[in-house]
Structures are given as structure tokens and as C-alpha cells.
Symmetry: D2
């Protein structure tokens, strides 16, 4: 998933998706393209234009940059006769690809009131038209060659769909009127979170990382063996109720619970609760995609930083899981959960039906204790597409499992998302672990 | 004119406009209100929403804040049965009136994508409707009482009309596409600036400041005597051609030409030319309300700071005029010039017809050497309207004469505008003076 | 007096001191040189080396820079055969003279642990030796030529003597041990401040600025006429008791008392009392050159900014005097007061003996309402000595009258000191004025 | 080794050193105490007082803080009748132990000109006197109990000895006179670095971390198994000659060689060479403890950040070693090298005598690719001594092997030093690795 500065691991060498790439994944391509529009159709021109912080980008920029991606990496190089919609967009909508030349500085993305949201849609239509032409005119050899790039473009766009949601939430949260992005779906009766049960896992040599067919980002490989120690993993996410207990017990005021850098951040920023929490009439509320809503005590806590997650784990006498532990635990589970397809757009109270780890997929990205580094033997792909695949592998932590804002079909057990330890604006939460 | 932090001297005690206030200036009121809309009707929702720097405000905010002014100071207090359009706007659209309560922080004005530009127009219509009702229902006593406040509201809105233009120019200048705010009016053939002639003025005791009838801001009074020394004033503004000579002579690299604070600013900011100047294909251009245009050599230099104006004057072996000198020189002249009414929206080459000081009114605000301080005997007005009339009287310099963005009828010989010495985004230039 | 960035008006054209300059003022020169050493002899090497903020300089630097001044402007140019003590000191100890070449950046003055304090004394002795040789070997023509420069060097060094005291106070104030610079002189019994009486002054044309014989800085001239209005001036300085009343009445929490820039500063800096005030065991103390001492209620308030002085005046229903008013009031008074010669090194309670304005000379520099600008007809002197005489004439305010840290013989009724409105670390206070 | 904010892993539970702790290590204690004085005896009071950046501390502070450590953790708790030298030092010289109460803010350590360097020596003598009394009066049970704490105090003081050297180097580097800390030892004839040979290591399960007897910090444990892959390690450190080739090949200007955060840092800071490098008369020099010296091409490169080390490795087509790889390679080697005991105080050209990995101990700390995190099963010790043992385990990278400034007997194969990736002021360099 894209980080703040760094719409991250969008690159993949052809090899990764090669086995399935017998032709264009045209249907998924255009479905993904339509989905981006569906996410923004009800937003105003202004909503789509404003940038609320350096880490965030305007919705319009996400729409244009994902289009630029197809233009820059596919149409320009592989479509004879392609005419760009506007040459200047090449500068405007590059994100961070140094090899692709100069680009508009990130903190000024919100200054671009022109082209308008409507014109960006025309730009999208222009590129989509050429992509359709490409689909119909490519011979089999070209289709085989381009399929991995198209696949990459699909996943890249999905990543930006999630960012678009987190960024619009951040923007709306700055507005004292606290507008809602979405009407809330009708809810079933509220229910209590299940009890705090744990699953145990044996130690031994385990294999993690992606292998076999299907698309994956190159940071998910190479698959390799790790020496795992026995561990236990909580069967559900930490809840708002548990977080409130931490707050009321002085969690944010107790230096000994925190990493030194975390304690510095807490005091410099004045953190006393998760992001978007505020008290109205004596009761805690949280800004959400449905506007400002009372805290739901049994739902997973969301919008906490690594520093907070780590402090909470220490407070609870536990620890955060390693990414390898999380992956081993997730390996056998179905890739189902509260992702964008449920339409909820908020983390949900865990269900009671199943046993074992719940909420592994969706709801909130789960902070792990693992710094984001290269897997052994990792080699970045060549060229501009894979130009910078390792360049974010410092200062960030791995998160796993996807969130309520993650597009359908985008998440995998091997998927490695990464953010800086002070970041809070993604749908981020935590699950506890401990040594067995 | 309103400065960055400080939409300045919008307040006036009733007394100032009292003599003419025999009733509502209803016609001018609604004409002014319509003019604000006319300035923005062709701007998109996004254009009207984005804030390009802390010193600037979104166009939509200007439209809403000037409306808030009538709501806060007239309708709420004097119109029985008035129902606010939306109570929350009172917080959102206050600028800096401490007595009027809490307000949305200035640097976050650009986060307010809702209410939309359309809804702000509805808000304006709502308030205008009530103002019309007030006009028709007030008896003579009430009309006489409210007239000065309405007059103040008109002038306040005019100030914001000029700011709206300077702020939209700043926003568009951040956009690599350099969009134009206005289509350029057809031009007559270019002509050369008149020669560098000077007018002489005797010394002696002179009276400056506003007295007599008509509206004025309280910082223009009390009228008082000053002891003037003989001086000479240039008959026209400094031109781009002259400024280029300064640049080419190393003006921006010569420490001894600069005030120490100016030299520090030049180096910290990397200034090497006026604001909005940039070189394209080897030729100097300047961003303007008509987009990026080649420098017109005979037109007045525009968008220079006090530091630059002062350095230029030293380079030229002259000085900037005192505000009292400027006022004495302007006293007898007609209040005509290149203000908004010409439709030019850019400073023009001086004409050749007249003799004596030209371009005193309009084209560019002229930096004076006078710090902005209280006139002797100045007393701020009581209450929220006049709450802070003196509170900007430190760290700023006086500018005189209005600009090509100043509304018709808004400028006077006694008018004192003020900005910080590093400010450049207003339509600011200079005229030279020297001791006689 | 030298400001933070700007050891200010150290320059003077020969003309200013010409009439008395019939030869070297050798006796005063060496007395001044010795006095600098006397001020620092009891300080440790470390005390003399550390820089406690950008605005302050180490004591050792003051000792070296004042020596550099004689080397750079007299010995190098006028003493054949002069051998510098160390060529590198020319770079190290220049303050801001652009014409004299590159210099060590101001914020790094505190990094210079070598040369040691002892070696700086050797450097001083070296230069003093050559100055003595110059005195004995110059013929009358040379002496006449150099005398104004020597005179300037004396006054320059006196300015730095005062800065040295304010800077060492600032340094010691950062130390939790609150060391004392000086043992306190034995005090007479405390007495109450005299009553709050006022002196009245007529209006009319008055002459201010320096003229006639004796040394003066060029910013004190040209002498010129001003049109004065009738005014009243308080006979004594504002006291700590009066300041406490301001504090207890919510002065620091009342926005309407403050200039907008002042209010911003108060809140950004968290000011709630003058600089160096802190509460110990429930009672207000102030760090001083004698260490941390209880507030003396009847003594003048000290270490307040212009913003605070202005707010206090508004609170009191008065105003600050103009510099011309202060000068007219001081014109006839003896140049006597609590300056360094009394050995007190702190502002004293006003005496009761005299009538009319007291404490005009010494105790604390008095903020005026006058921005620091050029007098009419001011022309900076030519060359490096007078290189930048006007370059500080923006953004600062004039203070008058000298302080308890001002060297004997250094202050005049025409003397114009200047600092930024947020500055507090000098011995600064205020006297009230009002329109008559 | 202590980091900037974080005099790091100074804590150890008694258990770590228990097996050897049959009594006070009195001889080593007092030898260590004397060594601290020996390192500073030739420094002036000012040299010992100034703080040249937030990350560094004054020499005097190191001398006092290491003394405070014995006072706070041993004398106060375990020596009946102990009288502190000065109660206020407890506040002044605490570093970051939250449980030990408030402390003087780190960035203000350089303001403490009093107590003087001499008085800090008296403070040391006072505490040493009481420590001697403790040695002679403790019975065996108390000695056994205190021995681990004394041992910890020794190692803590050794860490600060190294920091004292790196911090004084940083201070002297800010001085344009570039003073030398030490006279250079007589050198043997310069020789070329040995060829670029590599040693190979098999994969498999290996055991790392400290176990068995002897002192170690708790972050070196628990000892545990890791699954190692086959790898190769360069037999010597990267040299200045190799670094110059990187520079001359545009290493600092080639975005694709850098981690994104590194590239941002390079450009923000303007890095174009290692810290302390500067060109004089066309030739590269580097500031060192012996003053400014010409670069020795065959010596190890020193004062490079992790970002630079990582970029160099990419440039070379290699990678940095993991800390476990380094430890496995170092496991069998003697703990001998160019540490403080050689008296060189600079990294030396590698020798030719041996085969296999050279320079593993001493010369420069070697950046590894391993983020500094807890070993599996790590539990911080209880109480103030071990209060914060894990609190630095985020955002930093592990370095191994000690440097030319590391005290004799302080380094181990299991020793984990850690710094932020932008840090350069320690004696830091690199050794390359690659997959076998």
C-alpha cells in the first residue's frame, strides 16, 4: 500500500504475474477504472482538489495519477500513434518516478484547481479509449508482453483507491462541519465483541513470502524460510473499549510504556487519543467516512500509530506480532473479510461464528513489530516500473491484512504494507501476540 | 486595504460617514454585492476553495466573510426576527474579531470544501434578502443609525474584492499550467513611458488626514498638521525597464543596497526578480491575471516588496516618499486612474497627456517610507466594529494610491493601506522622491 | 545601542566628532579598553565562550570584536608595519561589515572555544600595544585624521560593554543554578516609589537631533525641526508594582489590549510575565546580574518587550511617548542617572528629591512609540566604517535614555537606541505619556 | 554505544555479570574513572563546556553524568550516610531516566558554564572518595550485590568516553581554526590497503547473542538461533579511495542509488562527501582528532551515514551485512584491533599479515542492514537501572565492531551499537557483503 511520500510497492517484474498472463485482464482493468470513478462521483470539484496535508493527495490527483501510470508505462511505449491528452499532465501527475523526469512537487498537489475534476475525467476517458484500442488491436505476443504491466496498473490503481478514501477522510476531518463521505449502511443490532481468546502456533522452520501463481508485488518475495518460535496470537483485534481503558489508566501520560521516539511524538503532538477522536458533550466521538460518530466500544480501535500500538501492547503485557507470525497464522485462512466490498467503510465488531483468528482480512491494517526491510535475496526489478522497489525499505514498519477501505481482491496473506511509526491516517489498528 | 493577517482598517465609527448618511446607501450596497459575484462567476468551485498560502484566502471565503460581516454587525443586532442561514457559519467565516468569539484558524480556510461555492451563493442571497427587507422596513431613525454600518460593510467588501483578485492570482501562479483569470482587453498600440520628469513641492506646515464629509477609515484621521520639508516627486512610477537595469546591474546581489532585514530576506528566499517573474525561452515573463505574459518594459514594475523598493531607490540615488509627501502631492488631483473600472486588471504604461504627477491613483499601490503608525490623537472606535483599529500599527509600512485591482470609488488621497515589508503579492510598486 | 543582528550605529563620519578632535583621545581610549577587561576578569573561560541565543554573543567575542574594530579600521590602514596578531581573527571577529569580507556566522560564535579567553586578552594586549605606538608616533595631521575613528572605536566598545552585560545575564539565566554576575552593592533602606505625577509640555516647532560639538552617531542627525503637539510625560518609570497589577488584572490574557503581532507573540511564546520572572515558593523573583532576587515592587519594571509596553500603556489608558517628545523633555536635564558608574547594575527605585521627570538617564532604556527611521536629510557615511548606517532602519523601535548597564559618558539626550518589538533581554522598560 | 538522544543500553540486570562478580571490580572501576580524566585533562574549561549540537554533549557533562550514575544508582541507595556533593547536580546531570525525576533539557547542556570543569572534577573526587569507602567497608554480601551495578557503571562510563571523543571532534570541527584534540602519534611508512578479497560462510542454523560469563548489555540477549543463508563478507573495510570513486562517479547525484529517505536527506542537507570532508587548495581533507588532515586514500572511510553506506553498497553491486552475519563471522576472532589502546585515534589502513576478515574490531563502527529491534524473548530489566532498555528499539540501525575511539575491553562480538540512519558524527564506516 502506498505510504505518505511513497505510493509504494507498485512495481512488479513481469515474472510475478506471468503464469496467468495469457492476455489482457481487460475486464478487471475497466472494472477497476470504473470503480475509481464510482468512489468519487458524488464528490464536488473542490472536494477532489484540496490537499489537506503533505502526506495526503487530492482525490483528483489520485484519479489523474493512476491514469498517468497507464499512459507513461503502457501507451507511450507500446501504442503506436498514441497522442497524449495533454503533454503537461506528464509533469503534473507523476508521483515519484525519478527516471520519468521532473514532476510537480508533492506539497503543491492541492494548488491544481485546473484541470478541473471534469477535465480529469475526460483525461481518464481519453486514456481508457486508447487502452480499449490497445486491447482490440494487440496480437497475442504483445498482449502477453503487456499483460503484467496492465496487471500492475490495476493493482496500482487499487492502492490509490484506498488512499483516496483515507485522504478524503482526512480532508473532511479538517472541516468543522464534519461532512460525511458516505451514507451509513443500515446496521444490524449491535453486539458485543467476542471474548479475548488466543490461538497457539508451533515453532519450527516455516516458509513465507509469495510463490506460485497470481499477482504480487516484488517486496513479497523471494519466498524463503524463517525460523519461527512458538507463539500465540489474539483471535480478534484490540477494541475501542480496551483502548479507552488504556487512556483512562493514564496510558498517554506514562513514559515507561513508550518507545523514546514515541514518547517524544506524543508530547510534541499532544496526542491523548487516537486520530479523529474528539469529545462532544462529554462523550468520545470519532470522525469517520460517515461523519462524526459516537465511539462504538466493541469495534476495533482505528487510526493509531505504531508508537501507540506498541505502547498499548506493553500496557497489556503482550507484544505486537512479527510479520512472519502474522503470515503463518493467515496462511490457511480464506481471503474474506470486511474490505470495501461489504460497503461498510468502517471496522466492524468481530463476529462470533468462527473460532481461531478472526478479522485477519479487512477492518484495519494491523501493525506488526517488523521493520520493513528486504527479504533475503530481494532484487529490485529493472527499469522505471521497478525503478525504486527497495527505496522505501528504511524507517517504516510492516502492516498486514488490509482494511475496510481495501479494494476487493487486492489483499493477500503475503501482502506487505508499510508506514512510518507516527502515521495514523490510514485505517490502522492492532492485534496482540505473545511468546508461547 | 486588508493585509495578510489583518483585513485591516475595515472599521469606522458612525461619525465618519455621518454627514452623508441620511438613509441607506441601498443602491451602492447591492451594486457592491453584485460586483463580488461578478468577479467570481467564472471561477470553478475548486478555484474558489483552495488557499494557496497563509496570507491569502480562498475566493469563497471572501464571498462568505463579507456576508458574515453584514450578518454579524447589522442583521443579528438590528433586524428583529432574523434567522441565520447556518449558525455554524458564524464560526467559519469570522476573520479576526476577537470580540465576536472563536473562529476557524486562518491557515485552514482552504480545507472548507463544504459549504460549496454554490451554497455560499445561497448564503449570500439569504443575507441579501434580509438586507432588502431591512431597507424597506426601516424607519428613518433606524436608517440613519445603520447607514454608517452599511457604508462600512460596502467598503469592507470592496477591500475584499481587491484581495480576492490578488489571492486568485497567487493561486493560479502556483499552477504550472498558469491559467488566466481574465481574458485580456484589446489593447491599443504599445507606447513608450514618458520621460523621467519630477514635480517640486514647497515646505511648510501642511494638513493631512481626512476631514469633511464622505466615508473614511478611522486610521485616516484625525486630520492634523505636519511640518513638511521641500521635496520632489517623480511624475510617474518606476518601470519594468528600470527594474531590469537594476537586476542587470547586480541589484539583487549587492549587499550595500539593502536594509539588513531585506538582505536577509533576499538570500533566504532566493529573490532575484519581482514576484511572479520567470524566464521562458530566455525572456522574462510575469504571471498576471491574464496568465503568463512577456514583461512589458514601459509598464510599472509590480509585485515588489518594500525591501526591494527601498533597495531600488538607493540604487537610483533617490528615496521613497513619505506618506505625507504623497498625500500633499495627491491632494489636488482627480481620483481617476487605472482602477478596476478600466477593466485592464494590470498596471498600464503612463500616459503622455498631462503634466505633473501621473498614475497617482490606480495601477499599483505605492510603497512609502512611512511606518504604519497612529496619527496624533488617534483613538480607536468602541465595540466590535472598531474593536481593533489600531492593532495592526506595528511592523508594517504605508502604501498609497490604489491599484488596478482597487474597486471604483474605493480610493482616496487620504487612504492608508499597509503591508509587511516582505509582502509582494499585492499589486505593489513604487515612485521615487528626493529632497528638494 | 547595538541590536541583536545589528551592532548598530557604530559608524560616524569624521565630521561628527571633528570639532573636539584635536588629537587622540588616548586617555579615554585606554580607560575604555581597561574597562572591558574589568567587566570580564572574574568570568571563567567557559562563561566567556558560550552563546546562549542567536541574539546574544559570548563575552569573549565582544572582547575580540571590539579589538578587531581597531585593527580593521585603524591599524591595518594607518599604521605602517602593523602585523596582525593572527590573520584568521579577521574572519572570526568581524560582526556584519559586508565590505570587510566574509565572516564567521553569527549563530556559531559560541563554538569558538579556541582562541581561549586568555589568548583573546593577549590579542587585546597586542592591539593595545600598537595603538600606544600609534599614539606616540603620529604627527598632528595623522592624529587629527584618526581621532574621529578612535572616538568611534571608544563608543563602539562602550556599546559592546553594555551588550556584554545583557548577554552574560541571558546566559546565566539559562543555568538552573542561577549564578550571579556581581555581588550586590550594599543597599540603603528600601523606599517607596514617588507618586505618579506628570509634567506638561507645550506644543510648537521644536528642534531635535544632535548638533554642535561632541561625539554622536550619524543616526542622531541631521538636527531638524518637528511640529510638536502639547503632551504630558510621567515623572517616573512604570514600576514592578504597577506591572503586577496589570498581570493580576489579566493583562496577558486580554486580546483587546494588544497589537495583533504582540498578541500572536504572547501566545506563541507563552509570555505571562516579563523576561526572567519566575515564581519560587509562591513569590515572584527575577533573574538579575545579582542572581535570582525577589521582585522589588517599587523598582522600575525591566525586561519587557515593546509589545508588552504598548499593551500596558493601553491598559493604563495612556500611550508611549514619541522619541521627539522624550528628547524635548530630556533636553534640559543633566546627563546623570543610574548608569554603570553607580555600580548598582540594576534599575533603582526613583528618588524623591527632584520634581519633574526623573530616571530619564539610566535605569532602563525606555521604549518609545517611534519606529526607527532616518531623520529627514539623513545620508549614511561613506566607506566601510559608515557602510551600513541606515541598514537597520526598518522593523525596529526607538528606545531612549540608557540603562543601569550603559557605560558612563555614553548616553546623550539625542541618543537613539533601537530593538525589535519582541526583544526583552536588554534592560528595557517604559514611561507613560499622554496628549495634553 | 550511546546514541544522540539515548545513551543507550547502559542497563543490565545483575544476572548478566553475576558469574564473575565475586566482589567489587575495584581496580577496573578506578582505572576507568582515571581514564575519563586523562581524556580531558588537556581540554580547557570552555572546550569542556560548549555543546555543538543537540546530539552531542559537553565533555564536562560526560564527566559529571557518569559520576551522577554512581551517585544515583549506588551511593544514594546503598551507602549509609552518603552526602551528595550538591543536591542540584541530581537534576543537572541526569540524562534520560524518567524514573529518576525531572532533568535539565538536553539541548541546554551547553549553557551550564557553572559548575566549572574544575568543580566537576571535585564532584568526581567526592564521589570517588565515597566509592572507595564503599569498597573498603562492604561485606561480602553487599559486594556481591553491588558488583553488577559497579560493572554496569564502568561500562556506562566507557561508552561516554567514546562519546566524549566524538563530541569534542564535532565541536572542534565547527571552529574555523580546526584545533587538534591530540598530537598525532609517529606513523610508520604509509602502505597500500590489501586487495579486495572476500570470505565465505555457510548457511544453516546459527546461535547469536551473548551467553556464558562476562558482562554484557541486556540487548545482547537472549542468545537464540537464527536461520542463516550462505554469504560472503569483505575482508576489509571500504576505503577512502573507493569512496572517492563513488563521489567522482556521481554517487551523491544519482537518485537511483539511494533509499528515498536518504535521497531526501542528501538534498536537504547538501551532502556531497562524508562528514568533516572539505576541500582545501583543491585537495580533500578531513577534520579529525588531529585537526584537519589530508585524506589518506587507503584508510577506511569514516563518518558516513547509513544512507550513504547503503547507497555505496548499491553502487558497488553488493549489500551491507546483517548483524547476525557479522556476528557469526566475528565469533571466532580475537577481540583485538585499533581501539583506543593503540593511541591512534583514527582508523588505520588494513594490515596484510592475516587472511580472512580484518578490521572487525576497532577502526570504525560498521553499519549493518539490520534495524535495531529486540531479540526474541527479550525482556527489559526491572527498575530504574534497566528502566528503558527497549525504548530505543525503533528507527535505528545496528552497528558492530567498535572503533578507534572505543575503550579497551569494551567491545565484544555480540555488542550491538545503534544510531539513526542520518547520523554521521560517530566513527562510522562500512564493510560490504553479498549472498554466496
Amino acid at each position: 500500500m502506498t505510504t505518505a511520500n511513497v505510493p509504494a510497492a507498485q512495481t512488479a517484474s513481469a515474472a510475478h504475474a506471468g503464469s496467468e498472463a495469457e492476455g489482457f485482464p481487460a475486464e478487471r482493468l475497466f472494472a477497476t477504472r470504473r470503480q475509481s470513478l464510482a468512489l468519487t462521483d458524488h464528490l464536488s470539484d473542490a472536494d477532489q482538489t484540496v490537499q489537506s496535508m503533505d502526506d495526503a493527495s487530492p482525490a483528483k490527483w489520485h484519479l489523474a495519477h493512476t491514469t498517468w501510470f497507464f499512459e507513461a508505462f503502457i501507451l507511450r511505449d507500446h501504442m503506436p500513434g498514441y497522442r497524449p491528452y495533454d503533454d503537461r499532465f506528464f509533469y503534473l501527475f507523476n508521483s515519484y518516478y525519478e527516471n520519468e523526469g521532473e514532476r510537480h512537487p508533492r506539497p503543491y498537489r492541492g494548488m491544481i484547481t485546473r484541470p478541473s475534476a471534469d477535465e480529469v475525467r475526460q483525461y481518464r476517458a481519453h486514456v481508457d479509449g486508447w487502452l480499449e484500442k490497445l486491447v482490440t488491436t494487440s496480437d497475442e505476443a504483445l498482449a502477453r508482453k503487456l499483460a503484467p504491466l496492465v496487471e500492475l496498473g490495476i493493482h496500482h490503481e487499487q492502492q490509490h483507491q484506498e488512499l483516496l478514501l483515507t485522504d478524503i477522510l482526512h480532508l473532511f476531518a479538517q472541516n468543522p462541519l464534519k461532512p460525511a463521505y458516505a451514507l451509513e449502511a443500515p446496521r444490524s443490532a449491535p453486539h458485543a465483541a467476542p471474548a479475548d481468546t488466543w490461538s497457539s502456533f508451533d515453532g519450527g522452520i516455516r516458509r513465507i513470502g509469495h510463490e506460485g501463481g497470481g499477482f504480487f508485488y516484488d517486496n513479497e518475495g523471494p519466498a524463503h524460510e524463517v525460523l519461527q518460535r512458538p507463539f500465540k496470537l489474539a483471535d480478534r483485534l484490540v477494541t475501542n473499549r480496551e483502548w479507552l481503558a488504556f487512556m483512562e489508566d493514564g496510558g498517554y501520560e506514562t513514559a515507561t510504556l513508550w518507545l523514546a521516539d514515541g514518547w517524544g511524538t506524543v508530547n510534541r503532538e499532544g496526542w491523548r487519543a487516537p486520530l479523529y477522536w474528539l469529545k462532544r458533550d462529554g462523550a468520545w466521538h470519532q470522525m469517520s467516512l460517515h461523519g462524526l460518530r459516537p465511539i462504538e466500544l466493541d469495534a476495533p480501535v482505528c487510526h493509531v500509530s505504531y508508537y501507540e500500538a506498541d505502547a498499548f501492547a506493553r500496557f497489556a503485557g503482550k507484544r505486537l506480532p512479527l510479520e512472519s507470525e502474522w503470515e503463518v497464522a493467515a496462511a490457511g485462512l480464506p481471503l474474506k473479510g470486511n474490505t470495501v466490498g461489504t460497503g461498510e467503510l468502517r471496522p466492524l465488531v468481530a463476529g462470533h461464528a468462527s473460532s481461531g483468528p478472526r478479522q485477519m482480512i479487512g477492518d484495519v491494517w494491523e501493525w506488526t513489530a517488523s521493520p520493513y526491510v528486504a527479504y533475503p535475496g530481494f532484487k529490485p526489478a529493472a527499469g522505471a516500473v521497478g525503478e525504486y522497489n527497495g527505496k522505501f525499505m528504511v524507517n517504516q514498519l510492516v502492516l498486514r491484512g488490509g482494511s475496510c477501505a481495501t479494494p476487493e481482491g487486492h489483499i493477500r496473506a503475503t501482502y506487505r504494507n508499510f508506514f512510518y511509526p507516527h502515521h495514523r491516517w490510514q485505517f490502522m489498528g492492532l492485534r496482540l501476540a505473545e511468546d508461547a
